[in-house]
């Protein structure tokens, strides 16, 4: 079988899974639906591995294949095929997506067990994986947009999964609207590309672009900026990020899969995929890099003060994606993709841990109420520690190698790109502090009520299910989380999924150790070989130097967190008092929601109100009622003629004919 056939199979299984579960949800037992869903993704992963092996069997230069099933649209000079493009980059993404998805499906198999919408959940989840795979495998911009929009819908459906929870449906709508803003950017970019290059096909576009455009010409810059709008909306970069923290209203496996590991990295993939265009528009690439830098710092500061466990991790996700965006924008393509992979491991793991702890807390997410879980949940705690260490880039964990590779590249590129290195280290310090803030708040200390119950009886506490955001009491019918909670200690699928991810988060970085091996860099090389920046390689010495600095910063950050939250637990409150303005700014998330509300929502509402009250009432209604009134008045006059006197009708008739006859007589004479 050829490589593309395997890739088609990768797409087929999740789609089949989604359809089978979606159509048969009444007939299928819940367990079967879960098994089908998990198996479908597992098979997709197996096919992804087969694609990889097939690709590895070829000459590095020849590792790109386009294949199409049939014409998707063929009219008016437009020739779009239902085609996929298989090259190292797309196969890499396929493996990350299907691999992490398989584990998260397995986790959901246990975690969502008592949810009334179990089958619906797996159908959506499979649909999401299919959409994401379509996005990464698409062979032209049209299919990319299709996958892009499908993914947005899947995200909406899964955020609003507990659809009787008002905050969840609101968050879903917010995510959808902001994602559509991004979709519009992407669609406009595709239009511009078609106008200038006459094709949507990746291979044609990327070979023709350097011949048609000169560097930094305004059209190519516009194309890249529009692509960035799409990428920023999907990847939650400033200022289109506000949907991501709210998206935590969805079930925790969704947060792990969509809002940490896969979907939000689509923007990074987009920039890497269209790197040929960004190489031609360095200005746009720099804008992207600075946005990524701003995002990673802003999100890092917000994560420092969030008390909602999932939202804190969500801001950390934003911050880490900021690193990836910086990476792929300054030309550190393989480093950015490497960080994408390791981040998928440890961030999915952290969300799984969060899910387990939230379950133990009977669905409450406030870290102020948590303490002493170290003794109560040994496995979960170990995983939290591993995930935290990897996120904080502790030496020799996966995040350690991937994050520093981006920063080392920035330094090697020189010029003002050194800023990215130094501010990136500041971000790394923030990362270490906020990560271990969570760890030190949750694990040590005196066991809270829920943790104590777990230690004493081995049972998860039961509580009235309530909305963690508003405290409203919820019923446990369809559209709400089930009344039972499942923690990793008592559910083997969750344990297996977390164990595998924990292992990967620890050792995943070893595939790419400077001076030792360069697996991912070598594998992705053919994709990025045409980039003018591909010759930049930081020296091994510089990389180890960077790794040393990164390791020290990580340990210092963990030390600060230890000092603040364990050694002197009274200091944080004091610091909050001392730095009140900064705290208020961070706590209110830099007022981005308010800013967007003020700049966009309110003016649009104002225009709407004007249209309703003034334009609609006066102009539109005036026209409509005016027309109706005229017709009615005319009718009233004509009605008088209809008197009922037959003889008057006859008179009118005769007079009319006589008049006509007279007219023609006069005319003819």
């Amino acid at each position: 079988m050829s490589c593309t056939s395997w890739a088609w199979l990768v797409l087929l299984f999740p789609l089949l899974g989604s359809i089978v579960i979606g159509l048969g949800f009444r007939a299928l037992p819940a367990k079967t639906a879960g098994i089908i869903g998990t198996a479908a993704i597992g098979l997709a992963f197996a096919c992804g591995v087969a694609t990889l092996l097939c690709l590895l069997g070829e000459d590095p230069e020849a590792r790109h294949h386009a294949s199409s099933l049939w014409d998707y649209a063929n009219a008016a000079g437009l020739d779009i095929k239902l085609g996929i493009f298989v090259d190292p980059l797309s196969v890499f993404m396929v493996l990350v997506v299907t691999g992490v998805s398989t584990l998260i499906h397995l986790y959901s198999f246990g975690y969502m067990q008592s949810d009334e919408g179990y089958r619906r959940f797996f159908s959506y989840l499979n649909f999401f994986v299919f959409s994401m795979l379509l996005l990464v495998l698409a062979g032209n911009f049209v299919l990319l947009i299709v996958g892009w929009a499908f993914v947005g819908f899947a995200s909406y459906a899964l955020i609003s999964f507990w659809y009787r929870r008002g905050t969840a449906t609101g968050a879903g709508m917010k995510a959808f609207v902001i994602n559509v803003v991004g979709d519009i950017g992407l669609v406009l970019a595709a239009f511009l590309i078609f106008r200038e290059l006459g094709s949507f096909d990746y291979e044609t576009v990327f070979t023709k672009a350097p011949q048609v455009f000169s560097v930094n010409e305004w059209t190519i810059t516009a194309i890249c900026l529009l692509l960035l709008v799409g990428a920023f909306a999907k990847s939650a970069q400033l200022p289109l990020h506000t949907w991501l923290p709210d998206a935590m209203e969805g079930p925790t496996p969704v947060s792990a899969l969509i809002h940490a590991a896969t979907m939000v990295t689509a923007g990074v993939y987009l920039i890497a995929r269209t790197h040929v265009l960004f190489d031609l528009a360095p200005t746009a690439a720099d804008i992207a890099a600075f946005t990524g830098l701003a995002t990673l710092l802003v999100a890092g500061t917000i994560a420092l003060v969030m008390t909602d466990l999932k939202r804190a991790i969500a801001y950390s996700t934003m911050s880490q994606i900021g690193y990836m965006v910086v990476g792929v924008s300054i030309g550190a393509y393989s480093a950015g993709m490497f960080h994408l992979m390791t981040h998928a491991f440890f961030k999915a793991l952290l969300f799984m841990v969060a899910g387990s702890i939230i379950a133990a807390m009977a669905n409450r997410q406030n870290i102020d109420e948590m303490s002493g879980f170290g003794k109560a949940m040994r496995f979960t705690s170990a995983m939290l520690l591993i995930g935290g260490l990897a996120l904080a880039a502790f030496p020799l964990t996966s995040g350690f190698f991937s994050k520093d590779e981006i920063l080392a590249f920035a330094e090697a590129r020189g010029g003002f790109y050194v800023i990215f290195t130094w501010l990136g280290y500041v971000g790394a310090l923030l990362t270490a502090i906020y990560t271990f803030r969570l760890v030190f708040r949750i694990l040590p200390g005196k066991a809270c009520k829920e943790a104590q119950e777990l230690i004493d009886t081995g049972h998860v506490v039961h509580a009235e299910p309530e909305n963690p955001a508003t405290g409203e009491v919820e019923d446990t019918d369809v559209g709400f989380p089930g009344s039972e909670h499942h923690i990793a200690e008592q559910s083997w699928p969750m344990k297996v999924a977390m164990g595998v991810l924990g292992f990967l988060a620890l050792v995943g970085g070893l595939v790419q150790v400077p001076g030792v091996d360069d697996v991912i860099g070598k594998f992705l090389e053919p994709t990025f070989a045409d980039s003018p920046l591909s010759h930049i390689h930081p020296t091994v010495g510089a990389e180890w130097e960077g790794l040393g600095i990164g390791g020290v910063i990580s340990i210092v950050g963990i030390g600060i967190a230890y000092f603040l939250y364990v050694a002197r637990p009274e200091t944080p409150a004091m610091l909050i008092q001392r730095l009140r303005p900064a705290y208020t700014l961070f706590h209110n998330k830099w007022y981005f929601d308010e800013l967007i509300d003020f700049l966009i929502v309110r003016p649009i509402l104002g225009v709407g109100r004007f249209a309703n009250r003034t334009f609609e009432r006066l102009v539109v209604d005036g026209l409509v009622t005016g027309t109706a009134g005229t017709v009615r008045g005319a009718g009233g006059i004509v009605r008088l003629v209809q008197s009922g006197f037959v003889r008057s009708y006859a008179l009118l008739l005769i007079a009319g004919f006589a008049g006509l006859a007279l007219y023609f007589l006069i005319q003819s004479s």
């Binding site: 004509v638 009605r639 209809q642 008197s643 009922g644 006197f645 037959v646 003889r647 006859a650 005769i654």
Partner: protein, 99 residues
Amino acid sequence: MAIEWYVVLSSLIFAVGAMGILTRRSPIVILLCLELMLNAGNLALIAFSRMVGNQEGQVFALVVMVVAACEVVIGLGIIVAIFRRKLPLDVDELRELQG
């Protein structure tokens, strides 16, 4: 005989019929007057047909007669129905159909 005579006679009969319709109130008389007008038309048709020298006008006259017969059947039917219901036989009284 010249065509004018026929046309004049036909016009006179037509005018008599029209005046009858406009002035009389009994539906029976109105029907009779309608008949007069139709036959005035027939007369003109046949006269012109003879002048031109073909039979098309006569064919039309026959069609008009058929139409007139149908119209009389329906008209008289309505009048009988009015009579049966003991309504006044006066077109000015029967004026419920008004705007």
